[in-house]
Symmetry: C2
Subunit: 138 residues, 2 copies
């Protein structure tokens, strides 16, 4: 599942360098590994797809820009907004859809092998990459 | 072990707000949880203590300032320097000692219950807090 994932680098990685090494939107890169978790970065703009990770929480840190995450919860739908330097965890089993009008750079923690579009999802638009994370080429 | 750890907040948390909510050095606060992992922030200045986590890797992101991590490896001792926006993972089983001359704010990702001074350590100086992470009070 994670055939092209990166290993743990032996030197520090500047997230700014990681982010300038690729252009693709909604296409996460694996920066490093922590036990069996990935640290991934992504550039995003526009809408991702409604999806759910049944078995894992998903951590977001906004490095630059602003990210909205729509959430379908028991009480209905709501949206949280993460500015630069904000963190949020989408609980397992919660349908969610990230979105960024202005664009954002984000960092994520999630178990290696976690698919970017979850275990179930709406129809995947062409601009969304269904991936377990690509290797970073610095 | 993690009796005073935070749960997963239902709203985004600004790391800057988390960092202004306490002053203690080398005394991590749990910002949120991802499955059975903690996301912790800490303010640091001066030297931590040589220690080792036998069973887990430890992830560092420097939010502000600069952090040196001395490492005892097979080939000898070396030190890596993380500026603002740099990430590094100390592999399990590697003795290490964080240090910051100018001071730094850092974010960490590690299994809940992980002790800040590891499973084995040199004598703990008074300025280092041996903790599994304190609850954040925002």
């Amino acid at each position: 599942m994670s055939e092209d994932n990166a290993q743990t680098p032996s030197e520090p990685v500047q997230l700014a360098d990681a982010l300038t090494s690729f252009d693709a939107l909604w296409s996460p890169r694996v920066v490093t590994r922590v036990n069996d978790y990935d640290v991934r970065v992504a550039k995003v703009q526009g809408e991702h797809v409604w999806h759910v990770h049944e078995d894992t929480d998903e951590f977001f840190l906004v490095l630059d820009g602003s990210l909205d995450i729509a959430l379908r919860e028991e009480g209905g739908e709501r949206s949280v907004t993460l500015g630069r330097g904000a963190v949020f965890v989408v609980p397992r089993g919660t349908w969610h859809r990230p979105r960024s009008a202005e664009g954002a750079s984000i960092m994520m923690f999630e178990p290696s092998g976690t698919l970017s579009v979850g275990d179930a999802h709406d129809e995947i638009p062409d601009h969304v990459d269904a991936t377990t994370g690509h290797t970073l080429s610095l």
